[in-house]
Protein backbone atom coordinates (compact mmCIF):
# COMPACT_ATOMS: atom_id res chain seq x y z
CA UNK A 1 0.00 0.00 0.00
CA UNK A 2 1.67 3.26 -1.10
CA UNK A 3 0.26 6.34 0.51
CA UNK A 4 2.83 8.95 -0.48
CA UNK A 5 4.65 10.96 2.19
CA UNK A 6 1.64 12.93 3.41
CA UNK A 7 -0.71 9.95 3.41
CA UNK A 8 1.86 8.02 5.38
CA UNK A 9 2.22 10.90 7.88
CA UNK A 10 -1.55 11.03 8.31
CA UNK A 11 -1.82 7.27 8.78
CA UNK A 12 1.03 7.18 11.30
CA UNK A 13 -0.37 10.09 13.31
CA UNK A 14 -3.96 9.01 13.40
CA UNK A 15 -3.54 5.26 13.73
CA UNK A 16 -0.31 3.39 13.05
CA UNK A 17 1.91 5.35 15.42
CA UNK A 18 -0.78 7.14 17.40
CA UNK A 19 0.89 9.05 20.25
CA UNK A 20 -1.61 7.88 22.87
CA UNK A 21 -2.34 4.34 21.68
CA UNK A 22 1.00 3.18 20.36
CA UNK A 23 3.71 5.46 21.72
CA UNK A 24 1.80 5.82 25.04
CA UNK A 25 3.16 9.35 25.38
CA UNK A 26 1.57 12.25 27.21
CA UNK A 27 -0.15 9.98 29.69
CA UNK A 28 -0.34 12.60 32.41
CA UNK A 29 -2.70 15.03 30.62
CA UNK A 30 -4.40 12.11 28.90
CA UNK A 31 -5.43 10.62 32.21
CA UNK A 32 -5.96 13.83 34.11
CA UNK A 33 -8.31 15.86 31.93
CA UNK A 34 -10.43 13.26 30.14
CA UNK A 35 -13.23 13.24 32.70
CA UNK A 36 -15.50 15.06 30.21
CA UNK A 37 -15.59 15.44 26.44
CA UNK A 38 -15.27 19.21 26.54
CA UNK A 39 -12.19 19.15 28.77
CA UNK A 40 -10.67 16.53 26.50
CA UNK A 41 -11.37 18.59 23.39
CA UNK A 42 -9.93 21.74 24.95
CA UNK A 43 -6.69 20.10 25.93
CA UNK A 44 -6.51 18.13 22.70
CA UNK A 45 -6.76 21.23 20.54
CA UNK A 46 -4.25 23.12 22.67
CA UNK A 47 -1.83 20.22 22.34
CA UNK A 48 -2.39 20.02 18.59
CA UNK A 49 -1.67 23.73 18.18
CA UNK A 50 1.49 23.37 20.22
CA UNK A 51 2.59 20.38 18.15
CA UNK A 52 2.05 22.19 14.86
CA UNK A 53 3.82 25.35 15.97
CA UNK A 54 6.77 23.59 17.60
CA UNK A 55 7.18 21.18 14.67
CA UNK A 56 7.20 24.02 12.15
CA UNK A 57 9.70 26.11 14.10
CA UNK A 58 12.01 23.18 14.85
CA UNK A 59 11.89 22.09 11.23
CA UNK A 60 12.57 25.63 9.94
CA UNK A 61 15.71 26.06 12.02
CA UNK A 62 16.94 22.49 11.75
CA UNK A 63 19.90 23.50 9.53
CA UNK A 64 21.35 25.86 12.12
CA UNK A 65 20.87 23.99 15.37
CA UNK A 66 23.96 22.00 16.33
CA UNK A 67 23.05 18.48 17.44
CA UNK A 68 24.86 18.90 20.79
CA UNK A 69 22.47 21.60 21.97
CA UNK A 70 19.32 20.58 20.12
CA UNK A 71 17.39 19.36 23.17
CA UNK A 72 17.64 22.65 25.13
CA UNK A 73 16.72 24.52 21.97
CA UNK A 74 13.65 22.32 21.43
CA UNK A 75 12.61 22.74 25.04
CA UNK A 76 12.84 26.52 24.80
CA UNK A 77 10.84 26.61 21.57
CA UNK A 78 8.14 24.40 23.05
CA UNK A 79 8.03 26.41 26.25
CA UNK A 80 7.61 29.63 24.28
CA UNK A 81 4.80 28.14 22.17
CA UNK A 82 2.99 26.76 25.21
CA UNK A 83 3.26 30.09 27.01
CA UNK A 84 1.70 31.84 24.02
CA UNK A 85 -1.13 29.31 23.83
CA UNK A 86 -1.72 29.52 27.56
CA UNK A 87 -2.09 33.28 27.37
CA UNK A 88 -4.40 32.97 24.35
CA UNK A 89 -6.64 30.52 26.20
CA UNK A 90 -6.65 32.74 29.26
CA UNK A 91 -7.85 35.58 27.03
CA UNK A 92 -10.55 33.77 25.06
CA UNK A 93 -11.59 30.65 26.98
CA UNK A 94 -11.17 31.77 30.55
CA UNK A 95 -13.60 29.26 32.13
CA UNK A 96 -12.10 26.34 30.28
CA UNK A 97 -8.67 27.65 31.17
CA UNK A 98 -9.66 27.56 34.83
CA UNK A 99 -10.89 23.98 34.59
CA UNK A 100 -7.87 22.67 32.73
CA UNK A 101 -5.70 24.68 35.09
CA UNK A 102 -2.18 23.38 35.50
CA UNK A 103 -2.49 21.04 32.52
CA UNK A 104 -2.22 23.87 30.01
CA UNK A 105 1.26 24.97 31.13
CA UNK A 106 2.07 21.30 31.62
CA UNK A 107 1.65 20.68 27.88
CA UNK A 108 5.29 21.72 27.87
CA UNK A 109 6.18 18.45 29.56
CA UNK A 110 4.03 16.33 27.22
CA UNK A 111 6.60 13.97 25.80
CA UNK A 112 4.71 13.68 22.50
CA UNK A 113 5.80 17.17 21.58
CA UNK A 114 9.52 16.83 22.18
CA UNK A 115 9.38 13.31 20.73
CA UNK A 116 7.98 14.64 17.45
CA UNK A 117 10.45 17.53 17.41
CA UNK A 118 13.36 15.14 17.90
CA UNK A 119 12.16 12.20 15.80
CA UNK A 120 10.44 13.97 12.95
CA UNK A 121 10.62 17.75 12.67
CA UNK A 122 14.39 17.98 13.08
CA UNK A 123 14.84 15.65 10.09
CA UNK A 124 12.05 16.67 7.68
CA UNK A 125 11.08 19.77 5.69
CA UNK A 126 8.61 22.30 7.05
CA UNK A 127 5.57 21.10 5.11
CA UNK A 128 5.86 17.51 6.24
CA UNK A 129 6.62 18.59 9.80
CA UNK A 130 3.47 20.69 9.83
CA UNK A 131 1.45 17.71 8.64
CA UNK A 132 3.08 15.49 11.23
CA UNK A 133 2.24 17.93 14.02
CA UNK A 134 -1.33 18.23 12.79
CA UNK A 135 -1.98 14.50 12.50
CA UNK A 136 -0.14 13.52 15.64
CA UNK A 137 -2.16 16.18 17.45
CA UNK A 138 -5.40 14.99 15.91
CA UNK A 139 -4.57 11.40 16.78
CA UNK A 140 -3.93 12.46 20.36
CA UNK A 141 -7.10 14.55 20.43
CA UNK A 142 -9.11 11.64 19.06
CA UNK A 143 -8.02 9.37 21.87
CA UNK A 144 -8.69 12.12 24.41
CA UNK A 145 -12.20 12.51 23.00
CA UNK A 146 -12.93 8.78 23.02
CA UNK A 147 -11.69 8.39 26.57
CA UNK A 148 -13.49 11.57 27.62
CA UNK A 149 -16.75 10.35 26.12
CA UNK A 150 -16.43 6.94 27.80
CA UNK A 151 -15.65 8.42 31.18
CA UNK A 152 -18.26 11.17 31.00
CA UNK A 153 -21.00 8.73 30.03
CA UNK A 154 -20.09 6.19 32.68
CA UNK A 155 -19.23 8.71 35.35
CA UNK A 156 -21.92 11.36 34.97
CA UNK A 157 -24.36 9.85 32.48
CA UNK A 158 -23.99 12.89 30.19
CA UNK A 159 -22.15 13.91 27.03
CA UNK A 160 -20.85 17.34 26.02
CA UNK A 161 -21.81 18.90 29.33
CA UNK A 162 -20.41 22.42 29.83
CA UNK A 163 -19.98 22.82 26.08
CA UNK A 164 -20.55 26.57 26.52
CA UNK A 165 -17.12 26.83 28.13
CA UNK A 166 -15.65 26.29 24.72
CA UNK A 167 -18.22 27.24 22.12
CA UNK A 168 -20.02 30.12 23.81
CA UNK A 169 -23.45 30.44 25.35
CA UNK A 170 -25.27 29.38 22.17
CA UNK A 171 -24.25 25.80 22.73
CA UNK A 172 -25.07 25.59 26.41
CA UNK A 173 -27.99 23.25 25.63
CA UNK A 174 -25.97 20.84 23.55
CA UNK A 175 -25.32 18.71 26.64
CA UNK A 176 -26.93 15.31 26.26
CA UNK A 177 -28.25 13.34 29.19
CA UNK A 178 -27.50 9.85 27.99
CA UNK A 179 -28.78 8.04 31.05
CA UNK A 180 -31.55 9.92 32.88
CA UNK A 181 -31.61 9.75 36.69
CA UNK A 182 -28.07 8.44 36.70
CA UNK A 183 -26.51 8.18 40.15
CA UNK A 184 -22.96 8.49 38.89
CA UNK A 185 -20.13 6.00 38.86
CA UNK A 186 -17.26 7.69 40.65
CA UNK A 187 -14.57 5.27 39.58
CA UNK A 188 -14.88 6.34 35.95
CA UNK A 189 -14.12 9.93 36.93
CA UNK A 190 -11.23 9.04 39.22
CA UNK A 191 -7.74 8.26 37.86
CA UNK A 192 -8.20 4.45 37.99
CA UNK A 193 -11.11 4.84 35.56
CA UNK A 194 -8.78 6.61 33.12
CA UNK A 195 -6.17 3.85 33.33
CA UNK A 196 -8.74 1.09 32.91
CA UNK A 197 -10.45 2.97 30.07
CA UNK A 198 -7.19 3.61 28.20
CA UNK A 199 -6.20 -0.03 28.67
CA UNK A 200 -9.50 -1.19 27.17
CA UNK A 201 -9.13 1.22 24.22
CA UNK A 202 -5.60 0.00 23.49
CA UNK A 203 -6.85 -3.59 23.67
CA UNK A 204 -9.58 -2.68 21.19
CA UNK A 205 -7.02 -1.13 18.83
CA UNK A 206 -4.89 -4.27 19.02
CA UNK A 207 -7.91 -6.44 18.19
CA UNK A 208 -8.73 -4.26 15.17
CA UNK A 209 -5.09 -4.34 14.02
CA UNK A 210 -4.99 -8.13 14.36
CA UNK A 211 -8.16 -8.45 12.31
CA UNK A 212 -6.81 -6.14 9.58
CA UNK A 213 -3.53 -8.04 9.54
CA UNK A 214 -5.31 -11.36 9.13
CA UNK A 215 -7.37 -10.02 6.27
CA UNK A 216 -4.29 -8.59 4.56
CA UNK A 217 -2.08 -11.65 5.07
CA UNK A 218 -2.49 -13.22 1.58
CA UNK A 219 -1.04 -10.07 -0.05
CA UNK A 220 2.62 -9.47 0.91
CA UNK A 221 3.15 -6.10 2.56
CA UNK A 222 5.19 -3.78 0.33
CA UNK A 223 4.49 -0.38 1.87
CA UNK A 224 7.19 1.67 3.63
CA UNK A 225 8.24 0.38 7.01
CA UNK A 226 6.50 2.27 9.83
CA UNK A 227 8.60 5.20 10.96
CA UNK A 228 8.99 4.68 14.66
CA UNK A 229 9.00 7.57 17.05
CA UNK A 230 12.12 6.62 18.93
Amino acid sequence: MNRGPYGEIAYQGLWGNNPAFVQILGLCPLLAVTSTVVNALGLGLATTLTLIASNVIVSAIRQWVRPEIRIPVFVMIIAAVVTAIEMAMKAWFFDLYNILGIFIPLIVTNCTIIARAEAFASKHPVGQSLADGLFMGLGFTGVLLLLGAMREMLGFGTLFSQAHLMFGEALRDVALTVIPDYRGFLLAILPPGAFIGLGLLIALKNIIDARLERRRRPVPVTGPAPAHGH
Binding site: R183, F185, L186, L187, L190, P192, I196, G199
Partner: protein
Protein backbone atom coordinates in the same frame (compact mmCIF):
# COMPACT_ATOMS: atom_id res chain seq x y z
CA UNK B 1 14.00 -35.75 54.96
CA UNK B 2 10.48 -34.51 55.41
CA UNK B 3 8.87 -32.21 52.87
CA UNK B 4 6.93 -29.36 54.35
CA UNK B 5 3.78 -29.48 52.24
CA UNK B 6 3.11 -25.75 52.16
CA UNK B 7 6.32 -24.34 50.77
CA UNK B 8 6.53 -22.61 47.42
CA UNK B 9 6.86 -24.18 44.02
CA UNK B 10 9.61 -26.81 43.93
CA UNK B 11 8.51 -28.39 47.20
CA UNK B 12 4.77 -28.26 46.61
CA UNK B 13 3.26 -31.59 47.53
CA UNK B 14 -0.12 -32.37 46.02
CA UNK B 15 -2.67 -31.66 48.75
CA UNK B 16 -5.99 -32.33 47.10
CA UNK B 17 -7.01 -30.13 44.19
CA UNK B 18 -8.23 -26.57 43.89
CA UNK B 19 -11.84 -27.73 43.92
CA UNK B 20 -11.60 -29.63 47.20
CA UNK B 21 -9.73 -26.72 48.74
CA UNK B 22 -12.31 -24.18 47.70
CA UNK B 23 -15.24 -26.23 48.93
CA UNK B 24 -13.56 -26.68 52.30
CA UNK B 25 -13.30 -22.89 52.41
CA UNK B 26 -17.01 -22.58 51.60
CA UNK B 27 -17.84 -25.06 54.36
CA UNK B 28 -15.74 -23.10 56.84
CA UNK B 29 -17.62 -19.93 55.92
CA UNK B 30 -20.99 -21.43 56.85
CA UNK B 31 -21.14 -20.71 60.63
CA UNK B 32 -20.04 -17.08 60.30
CA UNK B 33 -22.40 -16.54 57.38
CA UNK B 34 -25.28 -17.99 59.37
CA UNK B 35 -24.51 -15.56 62.19
CA UNK B 36 -24.36 -12.64 59.75
CA UNK B 37 -27.73 -13.64 58.29
CA UNK B 38 -29.15 -14.04 61.81
CA UNK B 39 -28.11 -10.56 62.87
CA UNK B 40 -28.48 -8.61 59.64
CA UNK B 41 -31.35 -10.44 57.99
CA UNK B 42 -31.75 -12.27 54.71
CA UNK B 43 -30.13 -9.43 52.77
CA UNK B 44 -26.75 -11.03 53.47
CA UNK B 45 -27.82 -14.18 51.65
CA UNK B 46 -29.48 -12.21 48.85
CA UNK B 47 -26.21 -10.33 48.26
CA UNK B 48 -24.25 -13.56 48.23
CA UNK B 49 -26.67 -15.09 45.74
CA UNK B 50 -26.36 -12.07 43.42
CA UNK B 51 -22.60 -12.19 43.68
CA UNK B 52 -22.42 -15.93 43.08
CA UNK B 53 -24.71 -15.82 40.04
CA UNK B 54 -22.83 -12.87 38.51
CA UNK B 55 -19.40 -14.29 39.24
CA UNK B 56 -20.18 -17.70 37.73
CA UNK B 57 -21.77 -16.12 34.66
CA UNK B 58 -18.84 -13.72 34.23
CA UNK B 59 -16.33 -16.52 34.73
CA UNK B 60 -18.04 -18.65 32.07
CA UNK B 61 -18.30 -15.74 29.64
CA UNK B 62 -14.65 -14.72 30.01
CA UNK B 63 -13.41 -18.30 29.77
CA UNK B 64 -15.35 -18.73 26.57
CA UNK B 65 -13.91 -15.49 25.19
CA UNK B 66 -10.43 -16.66 26.11
CA UNK B 67 -11.15 -20.03 24.51
CA UNK B 68 -10.41 -21.94 27.69
CA UNK B 69 -12.36 -24.95 28.97
CA UNK B 70 -15.30 -23.59 30.94
CA UNK B 71 -16.51 -26.53 32.98
CA UNK B 72 -13.43 -27.43 35.04
CA UNK B 73 -12.76 -23.79 35.87
CA UNK B 74 -16.32 -23.29 37.07
CA UNK B 75 -16.28 -26.52 39.03
CA UNK B 76 -13.15 -25.63 40.99
CA UNK B 77 -15.17 -23.14 42.99
CA UNK B 78 -12.62 -20.33 42.99
CA UNK B 79 -15.08 -17.91 41.43
CA UNK B 80 -17.69 -19.01 43.93
CA UNK B 81 -15.41 -18.29 46.89
CA UNK B 82 -14.58 -14.86 45.47
CA UNK B 83 -18.29 -14.15 45.10
CA UNK B 84 -19.19 -15.34 48.59
CA UNK B 85 -16.45 -13.27 50.22
CA UNK B 86 -17.56 -10.18 48.33
CA UNK B 87 -21.20 -10.84 49.22
CA UNK B 88 -20.31 -11.14 52.90
CA UNK B 89 -18.47 -7.82 52.80
CA UNK B 90 -21.42 -5.87 51.34
CA UNK B 91 -23.98 -4.06 53.47
CA UNK B 92 -27.08 -6.21 54.01
CA UNK B 93 -29.49 -3.86 52.28
CA UNK B 94 -28.22 -3.20 48.79
CA UNK B 95 -29.74 -2.63 45.35
CA UNK B 96 -29.11 -5.55 43.00
CA UNK B 97 -26.61 -3.72 40.81
CA UNK B 98 -24.21 -3.24 43.71
CA UNK B 99 -23.26 -6.93 44.10
CA UNK B 100 -23.55 -7.44 40.35
CA UNK B 101 -21.07 -4.67 39.47
CA UNK B 102 -18.73 -5.71 42.25
CA UNK B 103 -18.68 -9.39 41.33
CA UNK B 104 -18.37 -8.71 37.60
CA UNK B 105 -15.42 -6.36 38.20
CA UNK B 106 -13.80 -8.87 40.54
CA UNK B 107 -13.96 -11.70 38.02
CA UNK B 108 -13.47 -9.88 34.72
CA UNK B 109 -10.99 -7.15 35.60
CA UNK B 110 -9.28 -8.21 38.82
CA UNK B 111 -9.00 -11.88 37.91
CA UNK B 112 -9.14 -12.58 34.19
CA UNK B 113 -7.57 -9.45 32.73
CA UNK B 114 -4.50 -10.38 34.77
CA UNK B 115 -4.48 -13.92 33.40
CA UNK B 116 -7.04 -15.81 35.45
CA UNK B 117 -6.74 -18.07 38.47
CA UNK B 118 -3.16 -18.17 39.71
CA UNK B 119 -2.01 -15.01 37.94
CA UNK B 120 -4.04 -12.27 39.56
CA UNK B 121 -1.86 -10.09 41.80
CA UNK B 122 -4.82 -8.61 43.67
CA UNK B 123 -7.42 -10.41 45.69
CA UNK B 124 -10.42 -10.28 43.32
CA UNK B 125 -13.08 -10.06 46.04
CA UNK B 126 -11.31 -7.15 47.71
CA UNK B 127 -10.70 -5.41 44.39
CA UNK B 128 -14.45 -5.62 43.72
CA UNK B 129 -15.18 -4.33 47.20
CA UNK B 130 -12.74 -1.44 46.84
CA UNK B 131 -14.30 -0.49 43.50
CA UNK B 132 -17.76 -0.36 45.11
CA UNK B 133 -16.57 1.52 48.18
CA UNK B 134 -14.83 4.14 46.05
CA UNK B 135 -17.64 4.46 43.50
CA UNK B 136 -20.80 4.18 45.60
CA UNK B 137 -19.97 5.44 49.09
CA UNK B 138 -23.63 6.10 49.93
CA UNK B 139 -24.87 2.60 49.21
CA UNK B 140 -21.85 1.01 50.82
CA UNK B 141 -22.53 2.37 54.31
CA UNK B 142 -26.21 1.36 54.46
CA UNK B 143 -25.84 -1.14 57.28
CA UNK B 144 -28.87 -2.32 59.20
CA UNK B 145 -28.97 -2.27 62.99
CA UNK B 146 -27.95 -5.62 64.50
CA UNK B 147 -30.39 -7.88 66.27
CA UNK B 148 -33.55 -7.47 64.29
CA UNK B 149 -33.03 -6.29 60.77
CA UNK B 150 -36.81 -5.92 60.76
CA UNK B 151 -37.06 -6.77 57.08
CA UNK B 152 -38.17 -10.19 55.92
CA UNK B 153 -37.00 -11.86 52.74
CA UNK B 154 -39.72 -10.40 50.51
CA UNK B 155 -39.02 -6.86 51.73
CA UNK B 156 -35.31 -7.30 51.10
CA UNK B 157 -35.93 -8.72 47.64
CA UNK B 158 -38.25 -5.83 46.85
CA UNK B 159 -35.56 -3.37 47.83
CA UNK B 160 -32.87 -5.26 45.97
CA UNK B 161 -34.83 -5.46 42.72
CA UNK B 162 -36.98 -2.36 42.64
CA UNK B 163 -35.49 -0.09 45.27
CA UNK B 164 -38.78 0.14 47.16
CA UNK B 165 -39.15 -0.29 50.91
CA UNK B 166 -42.28 -1.38 52.83
CA UNK B 167 -44.71 1.51 53.37
CA UNK B 168 -43.65 3.77 56.19
CA UNK B 169 -40.01 2.72 56.13
CA UNK B 170 -37.26 4.98 54.85
CA UNK B 171 -33.70 4.09 54.11
CA UNK B 172 -32.36 6.71 56.51
CA UNK B 173 -34.49 5.42 59.35
CA UNK B 174 -33.63 1.79 58.72
CA UNK B 175 -29.91 2.03 58.24
CA UNK B 176 -27.21 3.18 60.61
CA UNK B 177 -23.44 3.28 60.87
CA UNK B 178 -21.53 0.21 61.95
CA UNK B 179 -19.95 0.11 65.43
CA UNK B 180 -16.52 0.81 63.93
CA UNK B 181 -17.87 3.83 62.08
CA UNK B 182 -19.84 5.12 65.07
CA UNK B 183 -16.87 4.83 67.41
CA UNK B 184 -14.66 6.68 64.98
CA UNK B 185 -17.18 9.50 64.72
CA UNK B 186 -17.53 9.72 68.48
CA UNK B 187 -13.76 9.76 69.00
CA UNK B 188 -13.58 12.48 66.38
CA UNK B 189 -16.09 14.48 68.43
CA UNK B 190 -13.85 14.14 71.46
CA UNK B 191 -15.95 11.70 73.49
CA UNK B 192 -14.06 9.10 75.53
CA UNK B 193 -14.34 5.59 74.13
CA UNK B 194 -15.88 4.02 77.25
CA UNK B 195 -18.57 6.70 77.45
CA UNK B 196 -19.36 6.47 73.74
CA UNK B 197 -19.73 2.71 73.94
CA UNK B 198 -21.86 2.84 77.10
CA UNK B 199 -24.23 5.38 75.59
CA UNK B 200 -25.22 3.06 72.74
CA UNK B 201 -26.09 -0.32 74.30
CA UNK B 202 -28.03 -1.17 71.14
CA UNK B 203 -24.82 -1.02 69.16
CA UNK B 204 -21.95 -1.97 71.47
CA UNK B 205 -21.62 -5.17 73.46
CA UNK B 206 -18.93 -5.61 76.13
CA UNK B 207 -16.02 -6.35 73.77
CA UNK B 208 -17.22 -5.36 70.31
CA UNK B 209 -20.30 -4.43 68.35
CA UNK B 210 -23.58 -6.25 69.05
CA UNK B 211 -23.79 -9.17 66.64
CA UNK B 212 -20.32 -8.48 65.24
CA UNK B 213 -18.75 -10.40 68.12
CA UNK B 214 -20.73 -13.51 67.18
CA UNK B 215 -20.04 -13.14 63.49
CA UNK B 216 -16.33 -12.68 64.06
CA UNK B 217 -16.23 -15.48 66.62
CA UNK B 218 -17.82 -17.95 64.23
CA UNK B 219 -15.54 -16.91 61.38
CA UNK B 220 -12.67 -17.48 63.81
CA UNK B 221 -14.02 -20.97 64.49
CA UNK B 222 -14.31 -21.76 60.77
CA UNK B 223 -10.85 -20.34 60.24
CA UNK B 224 -9.33 -22.49 62.98
CA UNK B 225 -10.90 -25.50 61.30
CA UNK B 226 -9.18 -24.51 58.07
CA UNK B 227 -5.86 -24.25 59.90
CA UNK B 228 -6.44 -27.64 61.52
CA UNK B 229 -7.15 -29.12 58.09
CA UNK B 230 -3.94 -27.40 56.90
CA UNK B 231 -5.81 -25.61 54.12
CA UNK B 232 -4.81 -22.13 55.17
CA UNK B 233 -1.30 -21.20 56.31
CA UNK B 234 -1.28 -20.37 60.04
CA UNK B 235 1.35 -17.65 59.65
CA UNK B 236 -0.93 -15.15 57.90
CA UNK B 237 -3.87 -15.03 60.35
CA UNK B 238 -1.55 -15.34 63.35
CA UNK B 239 0.66 -12.46 62.21
CA UNK B 240 -2.28 -10.32 61.12
CA UNK B 241 -4.29 -10.73 64.32
CA UNK B 242 -1.12 -10.45 66.39
CA UNK B 243 -0.04 -7.20 64.75
CA UNK B 244 -3.52 -5.69 64.90
CA UNK B 245 -4.01 -6.74 68.53
CA UNK B 246 -0.57 -5.60 69.61
CA UNK B 247 -0.83 -2.21 67.95
CA UNK B 248 -4.31 -1.70 69.38
CA UNK B 249 -3.04 -2.75 72.83
CA UNK B 250 -0.14 -0.28 72.76
CA UNK B 251 -2.30 2.67 71.76
CA UNK B 252 -5.07 1.65 74.12
CA UNK B 253 -2.64 1.49 77.07
CA UNK B 254 -1.20 4.86 76.13
CA UNK B 255 -4.56 6.62 75.84
CA UNK B 256 -7.63 4.49 76.57
CA UNK B 257 -9.97 7.44 76.12
CA UNK B 258 -9.12 7.94 72.47
CA UNK B 259 -8.41 4.40 71.31
CA UNK B 260 -10.67 1.37 71.18
CA UNK B 261 -9.55 -1.67 73.21
CA UNK B 262 -7.72 -4.42 71.32
CA UNK B 263 -10.55 -6.94 71.66
CA UNK B 264 -12.89 -4.45 70.00
CA UNK B 265 -10.57 -4.31 67.00
CA UNK B 266 -10.22 -8.08 66.83
CA UNK B 267 -13.97 -8.72 66.99
CA UNK B 268 -15.32 -5.88 64.86
CA UNK B 269 -15.87 -5.37 61.17
CA UNK B 270 -14.25 -7.85 58.86
CA UNK B 271 -11.25 -8.71 61.05
CA UNK B 272 -11.75 -12.47 61.37
CA UNK B 273 -13.19 -12.90 57.89
CA UNK B 274 -10.18 -11.03 56.57
CA UNK B 275 -7.62 -12.89 58.66
CA UNK B 276 -8.69 -16.43 57.81
CA UNK B 277 -10.50 -16.22 54.49
CA UNK B 278 -9.39 -13.12 52.58
CA UNK B 279 -5.74 -12.58 53.48
CA UNK B 280 -5.01 -16.30 53.11
CA UNK B 281 -6.01 -16.45 49.43
CA UNK B 282 -3.24 -18.72 48.11
CA UNK B 283 -2.85 -16.82 44.83
CA UNK B 284 -2.38 -13.30 46.13
CA UNK B 285 -0.70 -13.96 49.48
CA UNK B 286 3.00 -14.39 50.10
CA UNK B 287 4.20 -17.95 49.60
CA UNK B 288 7.26 -18.27 51.83
CA UNK B 289 6.85 -19.05 55.56
CA UNK B 290 8.68 -15.93 56.72
CA UNK B 291 7.06 -13.89 53.98
CA UNK B 292 3.64 -14.91 55.23
CA UNK B 293 4.48 -13.54 58.66
CA UNK B 294 5.56 -10.23 57.13
CA UNK B 295 2.52 -10.15 54.83
CA UNK B 296 0.07 -10.89 57.64
CA UNK B 297 1.67 -8.42 60.02
CA UNK B 298 1.59 -5.75 57.32
CA UNK B 299 -2.13 -6.27 56.86
CA UNK B 300 -2.71 -6.08 60.60
CA UNK B 301 -0.80 -2.82 60.91
CA UNK B 302 -2.53 -1.30 57.89
CA UNK B 303 -5.98 -2.26 59.19
CA UNK B 304 -5.25 -0.48 62.46
CA UNK B 305 -3.85 2.56 60.68
CA UNK B 306 -6.79 2.85 58.27
CA UNK B 307 -9.38 2.31 60.99
CA UNK B 308 -7.78 4.81 63.35
CA UNK B 309 -6.49 7.57 61.08
CA UNK B 310 -7.98 6.79 57.69
CA UNK B 311 -11.18 7.95 56.08
CA UNK B 312 -12.95 4.63 55.60
CA UNK B 313 -15.13 2.69 58.06
CA UNK B 314 -13.06 -0.49 57.84
CA UNK B 315 -9.59 -1.13 56.50
CA UNK B 316 -9.43 -4.82 55.64
CA UNK B 317 -9.96 -4.46 51.89
CA UNK B 318 -7.41 -1.69 51.38
CA UNK B 319 -4.93 -3.32 53.74
CA UNK B 320 -5.11 -6.60 51.82
CA UNK B 321 -4.81 -4.87 48.43
CA UNK B 322 -1.83 -2.81 49.56
CA UNK B 323 -0.04 -5.86 50.90
CA UNK B 324 -0.90 -7.79 47.71
CA UNK B 325 1.16 -5.18 45.95
CA UNK B 326 4.08 -5.85 48.29
CA UNK B 327 3.97 -9.64 47.87
CA UNK B 328 6.57 -9.95 45.06
CA UNK B 329 9.05 -7.91 47.10
CA UNK B 330 8.31 -9.84 50.28
CA UNK B 331 8.72 -13.16 48.49
CA UNK B 332 11.97 -11.99 46.95
CA UNK B 333 13.57 -11.13 50.29
CA UNK B 334 12.20 -14.08 52.27
CA UNK B 335 13.06 -16.82 49.80
CA UNK B 336 14.03 -19.90 51.81
CA UNK B 337 17.70 -20.80 51.54
CA UNK B 338 18.28 -23.57 49.03
CA UNK B 339 19.94 -26.62 50.61
CA UNK B 340 23.71 -26.11 50.45
CA UNK B 341 23.50 -22.40 49.67
CA UNK B 342 25.70 -20.32 51.96
CA UNK B 343 24.52 -17.23 53.71
CA UNK B 344 25.51 -13.89 52.22
CA UNK B 345 26.28 -15.06 48.73
Amino acid sequence: MRFEPRHSSPHLAPVGNVGRLMFAVVAALVPGTAAAAWFFGPGVLVNMAWCAATALAAEAAVLRLRQRPVRPALADGSALVTALLLGLALPPLAPWWLPVIGAAFAIVVAKHLYGGLGYNPFNPAMAGYALLLVSFPREMVAWLPPGDGGLDLSAVLHYSLAGTLPPGATLDALTQATPLDTLRTQIGLGRPVAEAMASRPDLFARVGGVGWVWINGLFLLGGLWLLWRRIAAWQIPAAMLGALGLLALVFWLLDPARHAPPLFHLFSGATMLGAFFIATDPVTASTTPRGRLVYGAGIGVLIYVIRTWGGYPDGVAFAVLLMNMAVPTIDHYTRPRVFGEEKGR
